[in-house]
């Protein structure tokens, strides 16, 4: 009897843990960092480029958004999809989206649908045009494989401040 009770309690606690993970990080930790490129020249005259945290920008600046996610649970995470809405003041830098092991697609309709760049169209003044980076509202990385327990993934893109 005692053992059964313990088992029930354990299960209840585990279920509770599942329920709360939707609000707090517990199974997939997701972290975003915004950076800018900093170029330094060392004493030998060699250029070094590194990413440093960005807090202030002026129009024309390019920033780098990097999303890292790690599976801190003990089961695989499947069908992992990272979606990043683009701020209206930011223009996506074409070709800058990067994510190992993922297919990258974009939305021009506020996130309702996603497709590869060449399949995206917008209608302006009744005329359909191929979509440009200015039209993108969201970027999405669709991971090709599951993220096993303890593994990580990353997604990155650049944007220019209007």
């Amino acid at each position: 009897m005692k053992i059964l009770l313990n088992a029930v309690i354990v299960i209840a606690v585990t279920l509770g843990a599942f329920a709360s993970s939707a609000q707090e990080q517990g199974h997939l930790n997701v972290k975003t960092v915004v950076s800018m490129e900093e170029v330094t020249i060392d004493d030998n005259g060699d250029r070094h480029t590194q990413l440093v945290d960005a807090t202030t920008v002026v129009p024309g600046d390019e920033v780098v958004y990097t999303v890292t996610f790690s599976n801190v649970s003990d089961v695989p995470a499947e069908n992992v999809v990272i979606t990043n809405p683009l701020a209206a003041e930011m223009t996506y830098v074409v070709g800058s989206a990067f994510g190992p092991g993922s297919d990258i697609v974009f939305s021009v309709d506020g996130g309702k649908s996603f497709a590869a760049p060449e399949k995206l169209f917008v209608t302006k003044s009744g005329i359909e045009h191929p979509a440009s980076a200015d039209d993108y509202t969201h970027i999405r990385w669709v991971m090709n494989n599951e993220i096993v327990a303890g593994a990580q993934g990353m997604a990155q893109f650049r944007a220019r401040l209007k």
Binding site: A22, V30, T56, V57, A77, V80, V81, L161
Partner: protein, 340 residues
């Protein structure tokens, strides 16, 4: 009836045309510059990624932290000359040049204005009026009584991002200058917050107390305008000889009027592209093939020679005198009409 060759009035006409052109420019709404100033200073831009995944058969969603960047103010300004070279006569006073000052940064700025009329590379120094800098308050494109003077330290213009203002530089023209001499005058607009090497930061001095950063223009801009001396004097004397059908000189129907007009440049300089135009007087009829230039007959038709009877509007005698200088001496145009 216009009996003066338009060599002289061509110069004045150029003045009028340029003034009209300038007025047209000034009359346009002071529209935002073609370049967008960019996202407003002080704007906060957030980014949050969302990850959707399945775990143990349960569909879950996890947001990342939100990262924010704040937009700082970038200080940039552009000065655009609006006036084409302004024809002036030595001794003119209060001749103006029109410029547009545009805030091409992303925050509002006060701009200091300065004039410099001692510019290398021209023939004379215009003499700044006192005061020399005005806002084109009445939007005429020219300096008029309605324009408000700029006083440093008192009424620096405040321009929002992308906003422009029209500014006039007012100079007097020295005397005794030869035709064709040019004189330049320069307007410089400088951000009051600061100027200097791009990237220079003024902490907390941007809109909303964000930092202000000097942009590619260095926070200041200069435009250079030009005056050109165009003072050509042309003397024109018209005379008429009347020959009536009876051997006398009475102006009666049938009388032939022979007009002679002498044209002479009496100053240094060139009356370029001088054209003599004289409408046939009402109640008279042009005598066919009667146009002469310096005793050489010109055909009535429009052809390769220097003149014709232009019948496109009111019939007029048109004779092209070319580029006349004092050295060309007296040009005489003659034509005849009969009294109806």
């Amino acid at each position: 009836m216009q009996n003066r060759p338009t060599g002289e009035t061509a110069v004045q006409r150029r003045c009028i045309v340029n003034a009209v052109f300038a007025s047209l420019i000034a009359g346009l709404a002071v529209a935002p510059a073609a370049w967008a100033a960019g996202t407003a200073a002080g704007t906060q831009i957030d980014n949050t990624a969302v990850v959707n995944f399945d775990l143990g058969g349960v569909n879950l969603s996890q947001s990342s932290n939100t990262v924010s960047v704040i937009v700082e103010e970038r200080i940039d300004v552009v000065v655009t000359l609006q006036s084409p070279p302004v024809p002036v006569i030595p001794g003119n006073v209060n001749r103006s040049l029109l410029f547009t000052v545009t805030n091409t940064g992303n925050g509002s700025e006060l701009f200091n204005l300065a004039i410099d009329s001692i510019i290398a590379g021209d023939d004379f120094d215009p003499s700044p009026a006192i005061p020399a800098i005005y806002f084109d308050t009445d939007s005429s494109g020219d300096f008029n009584a309605g324009d408000v003077a700029y006083t440093p330290g008192i009424n620096e213009p405040l321009l929002l991002a992308d906003e422009s203002i029209n500014v006039l530089l007012v100079n007097d023209i020295p005397g005794g200058l030869p035709n064709g001499d040019t004189g330049r005058s320069e307007l410089t607009a400088t951000s009051v917050t600061g100027s200097g090497i791009p990237g220079l930061t003024f902490p907390n001095q941007g809109d909303g107390n964000v930092d202000a950063v000097i942009g590619a223009t260095g926070g200041l801009a200069t435009g250079t305008g030009e005056y050109i001396v165009a003072d050509v004097q042309v003397s024109v004397i018209k005379s008429v000889v009347v020959a009536d059908p009876f051997g006398g000189t009475e102006p009666v129907p049938g009388s032939i009027l022979t007009y002679s007009v002498t044209v002479e440049v009496s100053s240094p300089g060139t009356a370029t592209n001088s054209v003599f135009t004289d409408p046939i007087p009402t109640n008279t009829t042009y005598v066919v093939a009667s146009i002469r230039l310096n005793a050489i007959g010109l055909s009535d038709a429009i052809d390769a020679d220097a003149g014709e009877l232009d019948i496109s509007g009111i019939p007029s005698v048109v004779v092209r005198l070319g580029n006349l200088t004092q050295a060309d001496g007296i040009q005489t145009v003659r034509f005849q009409v009969t009294i109806d």
